[in-house]
């Protein structure tokens, strides 16, 4: 690992790079360009940046029109507003029309911190995952985030790329290869599979270290693409280890844990546990405090693994 950086740091700069390389990218924001980092894009390409003001429904609709006009339209705001406030626009205009709108909001999850529960989006993966044709990517670090943005820009159709505010450990090399429907096995193991996404990938790797000290060999998979899931990699790992723990900075309802449970339930039922926020809103606090408060630390993942292996 080499330090900590927020996944959102990749957003604006990657869009600038892509445009410099010739991609026909535009950005529509809703008064949060400094926080989301698209202000960097606005400074470089002011004629391709449009501020909708505090109006997320209009932000998504305008992005849809730009996409209809042949542009690759990135749009963001904070995850809670981009998805919840504008859900009908995403469903009926973006997805139903199969447009090249790439929704890449920042400030997802409880690591938003002190702003509290109103701003800590814990249901966005669930909301986006059920939309027909929507692809959902949750990068684990700043390098995976840059790769996810490039992947979304280069692949036709609607995308949701979940980005965060807080600095999180850098675990992937710069230029990491990613793909739609492609997970990455970051650490091989035999006793249990820990499937994680976003900031929880770093926690899962730390949990594997804790478990190794107990003599438990954990395989760690960075899911990255929540929809579509990498069924081949996940099923192969589940066959090998026979036990799966999921870990996400999201509600356990409808997110990664649900997606993996659906896959395993149909194709390879194995004992499993879901680490995540349990049907609750967030609360104010520092990110590290909140990770502990909601049971999202490496120690919590390790404990879930011990319980799972002990009970099976």
């Amino acid at each position: 690992m080499s330090g900590k950086r927020a996944t959102r740091e990749a957003y604006g700069p990657t869009l600038v790079e892509l445009t410099r390389e010739g991609a026909d990218i535009v950005v529509v924001e809703a008064d949060l360009s400094k926080s989301t980092t698209t202000a960097k894009f606005a400074a470089a390409y002011p004629e391709r940046f449009f501020n909708a003001g505090v109006a997320e429904q209009n932000m998504i609709g305008t992005a849809a029109g730009l996409a209809s006009g042949g542009k690759v339209a990135f749009t963001g705001s904070f995850a809670v507003f981009a998805t919840g406030r504008a859900y009908d626009q995403i469903r009926n205009t973006v997805c139903y029309s199969k447009l090249d709108v790439k929704i890449a909001p920042t400030h997802a999850g409880i690591t938003v911190g002190p702003d509290g529960g109103s701003h800590q989006m814990l249901e966005d993966i669930a909301l986006m995952r059920v939309l027909p044709g929507m692809r959902v990517l949750v990068p684990a670090d700043v390098h995976a985030a840059a790769a996810a943005i490039r992947l979304a820009a280069a692949t036709p159709g609607p995308f949701y790329v979940r980005l965060g505010r807080a600095a999180v450990p850098v675990i992937h090399p710069e230029g990491v290869e990613v793909g739609v429907g492609r997970a990455a096995v970051l650490r091989e193991g035999d006793d249990v599979t820990v499937v994680a996404c976003g900031v929880m990938v770093a926690e899962a790797l730390a949990a594997a270290d804790l478990l190794a000290a107990d003599g438990i060999s954990a395989e760690v998979v960075d899911a990255f693409s929540i929809k579509p899931l990498d069924a081949e990699t996940l099923l192969a790992s589940a066959r090998k280890t026979g036990a799966v723990v999921t870990a996400e900075e999201h509600s356990v309802i409808g997110g990664l844990g649900s997606a993996v449970a659906e896959l395993l339930g149909e194709h390879r039922p194995v004992p499993m546990r879901r680490v995540g926020v349990r049907d609750s809103f967030g609360t104010s606090g520092e990110p590290d405090e909140l990770m502990a408060h909601y049971g999202l630390t490496a120690a919590d993942i390790a404990q879930a693994v011990r319980e799972l292996i002990g009970s099976s």
Binding site: Q57, G65, A67, S68, G69, S97
Partner: protein
């Protein structure tokens, strides 16, 4: 045919509107459900657009030089389908498949299925924002000729997103967007003035920074003058233009006119036969 501006011929537009009304009644009777009131109220406006005002080429629906039409009041899909069929985007036989399984003519417009439909609509209030985005894309591409026409219902103006988009268009000086309001005064639950009063619609658009015009939505000469001159007017004043068209819900079918009950109810075959006779339609297979 290239995407050249058409010659405005009021008589031809009136004839087109009449054929479109016949199609609307026929397809809705065949479908057994749908929205006649707001389709008939918009028929003259849409005929003026597709028959004279808009530059478009039915043989090349993706011609980058084309004017765009966004039907934000997507439930009036029959009026759009009638215009597209009558101007040659697809065969008129398709109209009889409206709302049926496997049809390219969905209950509300679906841009992935129907040639000539620019964007899927149906959830109200979303079209003007999309029209703005289309206009921005044209600006980036330095295509100064095309105009994006967006038709909204008056009840639809109760949606907040419409006013977010109205603010956006004037802020960004989108002179290549024209908003057209089909102001028939009725919505599903009754009169707009009773359900949720809209006040002075033209004044509202003016307050949001638009150049607002009013027009009789069934006077083809007036429509051709106002709609035909809307883009030029926008360039002169440096603001987007909104045209509020006073219309009659169900226009052309006496038993539907001014009756909110005909918002979302298809005519029976007997009612349709009476309507077609009143409209003076040529014999159609029902």
């Amino acid at each position: 045919m290239t995407a050249a501006r058409q010659t405005a011929d009021p008589a031809a537009v009136r004839a087109l509107a009449q054929r479109m009304r016949c199609d609307i009644v026929t397809m809705l009777a065949e479908a057994g459900s749908g929205h006649p009131g707001g389709s008939l109220s918009a028929a003259d406006i849409v005929a003026a657009l597709y028959g004279a005002v808009m530059r478009h080429d039915p043989q090349r629906p993706d011609d980058p030089r084309r004017d765009r039409f966004v039907l934000s009041k997507g439930h009036a899909a029959p009026v759009l389908y009638a215009a597209l069929a009558q101007t040659g985007y697809f065969d008129g036989d398709h109209l009889l498949t409206l709302r049926k399984l496997g049809s390219m003519l969905q209950g509300h417009p679906d841009s992935t299925k129907t040639p000539g439909v620019e964007i899927s609509t149906g959830s109200l209030g979303q079209g003007l924002a999309v029209a703005n985005g289309m206009a921005l894309a044209l600006r980036i591409d330095q295509r100064t000729e095309p105009t994006v026409y967006c038709m909204l219902g008056d009840g639809e103006l109760q949606e907040g997103e419409v006013w977010e988009a109205a603010m956006f268009a004037s802020h960004h000086g989108l002179t290549n967007v024209v908003a057209i309001v089909d102001n028939n005064g009725l919505q599903i639950d009754g009169a707009c003035s009773e359900v949720m009063c809209l006040g002075d619609i033209a004044a509202k658009f003016a307050a949001f920074g638009w150049e607002a015009a009013e027009c009789d939505g069934h006077d083809v000469d007036a429509l051709l003058a106002v709609l035909g001159g809307s883009r030029e007017r926008a360039e002169v004043v440096g603001r987007p233009v909104a045209v509020v068209c006073r219309t009659v819900k169900g226009k052309g079918v006496s038993f539907m006119e001014g009756d909110a009950d005909w918002h979302g109810k298809a005519p029976t075959r007997e009612q349709a036969a009476a309507a077609l006779a009143e409209l003076g339609c040529e014999e159609v297979a029902l």
